[in-house]
């Protein structure tokens, strides 16, 4: 493994109007090395990478690429010298096909024209390399699930065969299987001498893959260390600037008996063509019902259908024992349902509205005096969540599009928490959220359940699912493949169901 320097970042600083986001950053990126950058939401990780990618320009500092000073004015220039990036926010073109997206900006050409055959062949090869042959090269990207889009992003970044590959939370939307594949690919790239910058809020992952770790806090570089010289607790301490008791592990399983037996939500034989089939389950008052499954298992589609955002072909939904017709999210809200959608940017965020409006938009009924919205109530409500979830923003009037990804997610989550629902559906609620805030959110979820709110929790992060759920429904290919009780909890067990293997198989294996 040659460990020569590829890119040196010297004294980089960057401000956005009103905020200094990066302050005097100095890092070396070396060939064949995986360099993880850790930091809380809003610490400046994405900003730093965007500077290295030529998308933003730093006010101060310089970049030394293979010993020569370079200045990058655009992503195009970065790509020319061999830098490629997997973006935190999905940055694909929805109406274009998968292969077009992969080769956008660097099409294989045949004279003046695009070489369509080569384009398809190359795309298929790359998809196969990433073990995602199920994504058709001609499919328009808008038809893919979030996880599939994330995979396409990865393939796209790889297609450039970069010398420096930056990954901004590449696994946030991925389940264990795809994450594992990605780890293998990173291993291969490292052996081939590619330098990798890796950002993730999943600590275990970071500690599995990284060689070096740099910690950022509020735009300031705290430390760069070899992975072997640091452990998770220490890293988290550096990130948040103080000791943080590990709330996750300390969170105790609830006693199943303590949960009421009153069924609040029941679903009977729900089907939607090509999405899910014959889904039946019941959730009790105050229960946290987890939903596990692989990418494309149909969990999101199921929840959105229950919520009235999509149609249901057959089956019925009962709330407190009564059959209800939920034709739109408005109806759902009247039955005190709330859904935090998985694709923040597409289905959750109002990018041009303020942080406050984003938090309050579903709750204005509560923030009125007479017919008019009360400014004070409104500001207070938003402020409460900004503080509660530690949303990093200068004020609640700030345009939410200017917040970091994790902070946006927190605001979107706040919106639905504020509606005080009786049934709360959470679809990947901690997508992109840092460790500290995650613990806080886990606490909130548990609190809500303790208050008697029924929670349906979709998560692709198995530890999260196992820790929070009172029971776990596992879906596979649009069907329920099993409901796992706490006594059977294990990552392996969930995965067995998720891949559609029979219970009998599983028990046989367990016997062995």
């Amino acid at each position: 493994m040659e460990n020569s320097e590829l890119l040196r970042v010297e004294h980089i600083s960057k401000s956005f109007p009103g905020v200094k986001v990066l302050n005097d950053i100095n890092i070396d990126f070396r060939k064949g090395e995986v360099h993880a950058i850790l930091g809380e939401n809003g610490a400046g990780k994405s900003t730093l990478m965007n500077i290295l990618f030529g998308y933003y320009r730093a006010e101060e500092g310089s970049l030394i690429w293979e010993g020569k000073k370079v200045s990058l004015h655009s992503p195009l220039e970065a790509q020319h010298i061999g830098i490629s990036m997997i973006h935190q926010e999905n940055s694909l073109v929805p109406y274009l096909s998968v292969m077009d997206n992969i080769y956008l900006g660097h099409y294989p050409k045949n004279g003046a024209f695009i070489d369509k055959r080569k384009l398809r062949e190359n795309a298929v090869d790359l998809l196969r390399e990433l073990e995602v042959p199920d994504i058709g090269p001609d499919t328009p990207v808008e038809k893919l699930s979030v996880a599939q889009k994330q995979l396409v992003e990865i393939v796209k970044a790889l297609s450039l065969k970069p010398k420096l590959l930056m990954m901004d939370e590449p696994t946030a939307a991925l389940t264990a299987k795809e994450t594992h594949t990605l780890m293998n690919i990173i291993g291969k790239l490292r052996r081939e001498g590619t330098a990798i910058v890796y950002v993730s809020h999943r600590m275990e992952e970071v500690f599995e893959v990284a060689d070096k770790i740099t910690v950022l806090r509020d735009g300031v570089m705290i430390k760069t260390v070899d992975k072997t010289d640091i452990d998770i607790d220490e890293a988290v301490r550096l990130m948040v600037g103080r000791d943080l008791e590990n709330q996750m592990s300390s969170m105790e399983k609830r006693d199943p008996a303590s949960i009421s037996s009153e069924v609040i939500l029941e679903v009977r034989g729900l089907s939607r063509k090509n999405k899910f089939e014959d889904i039946s389950f019941a959730a009790r008052k105050g229960e946290i019902l987890g939903f596990g499954g692989l990418v494309g298992a149909g969990r999101s589609e199921l929840m959105e259908s229950i919520f009235g955002f999509d149609k249901i072909d057959s089956g019925e939904v009962l709330i407190k024992g009564r059959v209800v017709q939920i034709k739109s999210p408005y109806d759902a809200a009247r039955y005190k349902l709330a859904l935090v959608p998985e694709e923040r940017k597409v289905k959750g965020l109002f990018p041009d509205l303020s942080v406050g409006d984003n938090i309050n938009i579903a709750s204005y009924k509560k923030l009125k005096k007479g017919k008019l919205i009360d400014k004070k109530l409104e500001t207070e409500a938003a402020q409460r969540y900004v503080e509660k979830l530690n949303i990093k923003t200068t004020n609640t009037r700030k345009r939410i599009g200017d917040l970091s990804g994790g902070n946006q997610q927190k605001a979107v989550l706040s919106r639905w928490l504020q509606t005080e629902p009786e049934i709360l559906i959470l679809d990947e609620p901690t997508h992109g959220i840092d460790v500290g805030a995650k613990a806080e959110i886990y606490g909130i979820i548990r609190d809500l359940a303790d208050q008697g709110i029924t929670i349906l929790l979709i998560s692709s992060e198995l530890p999260e699912l196992l820790m929070l759920s009172d029971r776990i429904v596992v879906m596979s290919m649009g069907k329920i493949s099993g409901i796992v009780e706490p006594q059977d909890y294990s990552e392996e067990n969930i995965m067995m169901h998720a891949t559609g293997q029979k219970k009998s198989n599983l028990s046989e294996r367990l016997k062995k």
């Binding site: 919520f307 990018p351 409006d357 938009i361 806080e440």
Partner: protein, 324 residues
């Protein structure tokens, strides 16, 4: 347990910023002021009360409709049909009154017609999922055709009590008073009511709005219907002003109204805009037009100037915002 420093000191800051918000329209206000000074320098008549009243009266129709148009634009729609609704409002009200209907009932019926046809645009946009541009372009033709069918192309006498809406109270034209009332109501609706927030939400991200429990369909129906009513109302005012309802009235007004909204800061991609801005936008257009007459700008240069001023106003505003 947790120490939320960021959150804690965010509170006072946010209040400061909130107060700043009123100056969002500062950029175009500066443009408007600059235009006024420029024209006034060359022709002091500009600053006379009579002329100021003239300008206000001239923008009153534009200003009234622009409130509805702003609503539509903020939901990320567009209404190209308002010009023909002006014609329809005047002509249908006049025809009803000539046919012996009580004038005020005629007014109400004409407004209802405007609302209904506006609603029809909304229906196409919502139910048929058609693009608002093409829907309202089609509606422009349909409504114009209806006006012609009603009037037979001839102006209809508008000498009735309703004509008072186009008259004056002392030196102040009634249309100006009506414009200010509508602007104030529009501003309150947009900034202080749930409906107003929903308008922004629908334009900001329709899917997210729907998932947040907002009845997106109703919001859209409402904004097109409101625009229909306001445009029909503006048409009745125009007819009252001339004592005659002209089928040709209002033609081309849609572009002025949209330009006023956009100069005033409404984003055509939705989710952004303000009624105060729209009023200033209408003011800029009104002052330019008035200025041409006052300064006797040669007709060819008029067009070039108006184009350049529109670009300059928007560019200046953009520049100022980016410096914020």
């Amino acid at each position: 347990m947790w120490n939320f420093t960021t959150g804690a000191d965010a509170a006072p800051k946010s209040i400061k910023k909130t107060n700043k918000k009123t100056f969002n329209e500062l950029g175009i206000l500066i443009v408007l002021a600059a235009l006024c000074v420029f024209i006034g320098l060359f022709n002091p008549v500009f600053f006379t009360a009579t002329n100021a009243i003239n300008v206000l009266r001239q923008i009153s129709v534009m200003g009234i409709i622009a409130v509805g148009e702003a609503f539509v634009i903020i939901t990320s729609g567009i209404d190209l049909s308002v010009g023909s609704f002006i014609s329809l409002g005047g002509v249908s009200c006049a025809a009803l009154i000539v046919a012996g209907v009580n004038p005020w009932l005629g007014l109400v019926l004409a407004l209802a017609l405007g609302a209904g046809l506006g609603f029809a645009s909304g229906l196409c946009v919502v139910k048929l999922k058609l693009n608002p541009f093409i829907t309202t372009l089609a509606m422009l033709n349909i409504v114009k055709g209806i006006s012609y069918l009603i009037s037979g192309g001839l102006p209809i006498d508008f000498d009735n009590p309703v004509a008072v809406l186009g008259g004056t109270v002392g030196p102040i034209p009634v249309p100006v008073i009506l414009m200010f009332i509508i602007i104030v109501i529009g501003h309150i609706v947009l900034t202080k009511t749930e409906f107003g927030r929903n308008i922004f939400a629908v334009g900001g991200n329709e899917k997210a709005a729907k998932l947040s429990g907002i009845r997106v369909d109703r919001v859209k129906f409402a904004v097109y219907a409101i625009t229909g009513v306001l445009a029909a109302f503006a048409g009745i005012i125009t007819a009252g002003n001339l004592n005659s309802a002209d089928t040709a009235a209002g033609s081309g007004m849609e572009l002025d109204v949209i330009a006023a909204s956009v100069i005033g800061g409404c984003s055509l991609s939705g989710g952004q805009g303000s009624i105060v801005g729209v009023l200033i936008g209408a003011g800029i257009l009104g002052v330019i037009r008035n200025g041409f007459v006052l300064l006797m700008v040669s007709n060819y240069w008029q067009m070039i100037t108006i184009g350049l001023v529109i670009i300059a106003a928007c560019a200046f505003d953009m520049f100022r915002r980016s410096k914020q």
